[in-house]
């Protein structure tokens, strides 16, 4: 078994070569210098085949949706809605922070976009009202992990492709874990707020009239997630097409209802979409090419066999895998972990009787926790670099949230009925 490509990836990655190019270089080195028995240029076919997948198109569509939301007034409208609903609670703005991420999750799928936006909008507001910068940054990073778990989400789609399960079932399956994450974070916020005496934003609960008024304004933004799920459920469009429809919907809402979207926003929206899409898809392509090396050497097969010898029972296997993933998530980017690890682990756990949809939900919640865990959590980097909070201060504030999310992870892992209840209805 040739393992030199794995060494090459690690070496290039820590030398600041972008992960996509590290993966490509390692695979090309294998197909050029390894004992492969196949001409190296043939591996290039994989660049094309891995990217020419129709369901993958949902990725740029939902990235574009996220961009449009920020310019169309949809994000702002959702923020006001969250404020009206939770502003009276102890630690009001911190609760707003969590609820906003949950609602945003129903439309877009990017934790980093969510983290970046709320670091810019919410954290300064929280600081004004007496929250420490580190706490504000920590709850922003932690709650951004909800957005990709609530459907739609790029990771849900990518996992569905890898595990060959239906995107619609992964989408439906994301609700319960996402909502549990939100509840766990809100409870944690409440405990901290009581201890530290954080004040609510508003004196008492918003009167029904005000909630109704805000609901009327935010209804267009709130309708979108329902439209997406209903549209897929009743066969109006496929999950991929739902992304394209959402682009149109957000544009229409931004232009005609909130009247904030302007012509000059479109070049910025397209540019940002192109950057995010190309960066994400290039990693997917590179990981597929690296995956060719893995399968050529039968590494998934060998790993499966040894893991099965290591943990004979599914519950033990899930402990081993969860610890393994949390460890990987601390050092690697979540999306990269998903793409590299899922093809290896899905056959292992399904052979032991774990449902692939259930495992996908465990996997995605797990890697989102990795995104807020030092030393390499991506949402930690995003929020800290925008708010200027030192990583050491961030760590002191984020650990209660990590514990809360790990509890959710354990519940989802060992109460399959909770995660699988909704997908089983489909």
């Amino acid at each position: 078994m040739a393992i030199f490509p794995i060494v090459i990836v690690m070496a290039l990655y820590v030398s600041s070569i972008p992960i996509a190019f590290a993966l490509i270089a390692a695979a090309l080195a294998y197909f050029t210098f390894g004992d492969v028995g196949s001409p190296p240029d043939l591996i290039l076919q994989t660049f094309i085949t891995s990217a020419s997948s129709f369901p993958l198109l949902a990725v740029p569509f939902f990235i574009m949706v996220g961009e449009i939301m920020n310019f169309s007034g949809i994000s702002a409208s959702l923020m006001k809605m969250a404020d009206v609903l939770t502003g009276h609670m102890k630690g009001g703005l911190a609760q707003v922070n969590v609820v906003l991420s949950t609602m945003m999750g129903g439309i877009s799928g990017s934790a980093n976009a969510d983290a970046a936006m709320q670091s810019k909008i919410l954290v300064p507001e929280m600081e004004k009202r007496g929250y420490s910068a580190a706490f504000s940054t920590a709850i922003t990073a932690a709650s951004s992990s909800i957005a990709p778990v609530i459907p739609p989400g790029i990771n849900l789609i990518i996992y569905a492709l890898i595990a060959q399960v239906s995107v619609a079932r992964m989408f439906i399956g994301g609700y319960m874990p996402g909502i549990l994450m939100a509840i766990a974070l809100m409870v944690t916020v409440h405990i901290i707020a009581v201890r530290r005496g954080y004040k609510p934003v508003r004196d008492k609960m918003s009167p029904p009239g005000e909630i109704f008024k805000q609901l009327k304004h935010s209804i267009w933004a709130l309708l979108l997630p329902f439209g997406i799920i209903l549209g897929i459920r009743f066969g109006v469009f496929t999950p991929t097409e739902a992304g394209a429809i959402a682009v149109v919907f957000c544009t229409v809402v931004g232009v005609f209802f909130y009247k904030e979207l302007r012509w000059h926003h479109f070049p910025i929206i397209m540019r940002n979409t192109v950057y995010a899409t190309s960066a994400v898809i290039l990693i997917i392509v590179a990981a597929s090419i690296f995956g060719r090396y893995l399968s050529w050497e039968r590494i998934p097969f060998l790993l499966t066999r040894s893991l099965m010898g290591f943990a004979a029972e599914p519950w033990m296997m899930l402990i081993v895998i969860n610890i393994f993933l949390l460890a990987m998530g601390m050092f690697l980017e979540g999306g990269a972990v998903l793409i590299i690890v899922a093809p290896l682990l899905v056959p292992v756990v399904t052979a032991m009787g774990v449902h692939p949809v259930h495992f996908g939900l465990i996997l995605i919640v797990n890697i989102m926790i990795g995104g807020i865990t030092p030393p390499f959590g991506s949402m930690m980097f995003t929020t800290c670099s925008i708010t200027g909070v030192p990583i050491s201060d961030f760590i002191k504030e984020v650990y209660p949230f990590i514990i809360a999310l790990v509890i959710v992870l354990i519940v989802i892992t060992y109460v399959p009925g909770l995660a699988m209840f909704l997908p089983n209805l489909l």
Binding site: G37, L42, Q45, V167, I232, F234, S295, P300
Partner: protein, 315 residues
């Protein structure tokens, strides 16, 4: 070819790639053949099998073979059509009425000549005789004639053979990715799909409400086993004999198992409420006439020659 005598430490690893999932008969056949070859050659020839397109498959897989990789590609004969265009005549729609018609045809001089011509493109065809079943029309409403299919949206794989076949048969071919197919059928995005009874039962297609199967037998799913000619000639004679024997034996056994299983699968599908209907084959075949026309690179009259062989069998 060379006829070097094998020395004791001769060892060759060949990677065999196909697209079937491990539960399917074709997967099991390949694993069994590989195992028998390994035993009979005392480990000199190790064929590692890779299911579900884990390694390059379809055109990519055949390309590995053509380019001289230590690789065995298991694909339908239409992929060899890129190199020997006449092969496409074996994979036109509604050619065969039984498995035997196909396996008899592959033994004729007509097809043996195509197999010989493939070697000039670097492809040694070990056998063409692996069969994975007829594809039929699976719909909500019964389909017995082209009129029944008119205006119906049928999901097909995204290649021109399937698109043209279903369009000519009267349907509106709708190429959808397999992952989106079942929900599309269930929710009425399309009116049905086409596939074998094994696909039907394996994916519980009948649960989507598409419970009628029109026995159009429009495509016979078949596979050949391909290896690079130079790689092949580099293998000592004694092992080549074993490899060829075992792949042939595997095909014959596999087809027998498939036939036996098919009856059971049909019975089980019927127990789930699936109804089977014979179709007006002549009417469909008449509509498919445009597909029995030679395209660029094919020998003029090749379709007639194939039909002549088939007619001879049917007398």
């Amino acid at each position: 070819g060379s006829s070097e005598v094998a020395d004791d430490d001769y060892k060759l690893v060949l990677r065999l790639s196909h697209v079937f999932n491990p539960a399917e008969q074709l997967s099991k056949s390949m694993d069994l053949v590989a195992e028998r070859i390994y035993e009979r050659t005392d480990g000199a020839i190790e064929i590692q099998t890779f299911p579900q397109a884990q390694l390059p498959a379809y055109k990519e897989g055949v390309e590995q073979v053509v380019r001289g990789a230590n690789f065995i590609s298991v694909e339908d004969p239409s992929f060899i059509g890129d190199y020997v265009p006449d092969m496409k005549a074996l994979y036109a729609p509604m050619m065969y009425e039984s498995f035997e018609e196909y396996t008899t045809l592959t033994q004729t001089d007509l097809v043996q000549d195509m197999i010989a011509r493939a070697e000039e493109s670097g492809i040694k065809i070990l056998t063409l005789d692996y069969i994975y079943g007829f594809r039929n029309i699976i719909t909500r409403e019964p389909v017995r004639s082209p009129a029944d299919l008119t205006g119906k949206q049928i999901r097909v794989p995204g290649t021109d053979l399937y698109i043209n076949t279903l369009n000519n048969m009267g349907a509106i071919a709708n190429p959808l990715p397999w992952g989106e197919t079942l929900s599309a059928v269930q929710q009425g995005v399309v009116d049905g799909l086409e596939g074998s009874e094994f696909t039907n039962i394996g994916n519980r297609v009948y649960e989507t409400g598409a419970t009628h199967v029109g026995l159009s037998r429009h495509i016979l799913g078949t596979c050949g086993v391909y290896i690079n000619i130079d790689v092949w000639n580099g293998i000592p004679e004694q092992y080549r004999v074993i490899i060829e024997e075992e792949f042939l034996k595997g095909a014959v056994e596999g087809t027998q198992i498939l036939s036996d299983n098919h009856a059971a699968v049909v019975a089980e599908l019927e127990s789930h409420g699936v109804q089977f209907h014979e179709v007006d084959g002549a009417a469909f075949r008449a509509r498919l006439a445009p597909m029995y026309v030679e395209t660029a690179g094919m020998t003029p009259g090749i379709f007639e020659a194939v039909f002549a062989e088939l007619d001879a069998m049917r007398q």
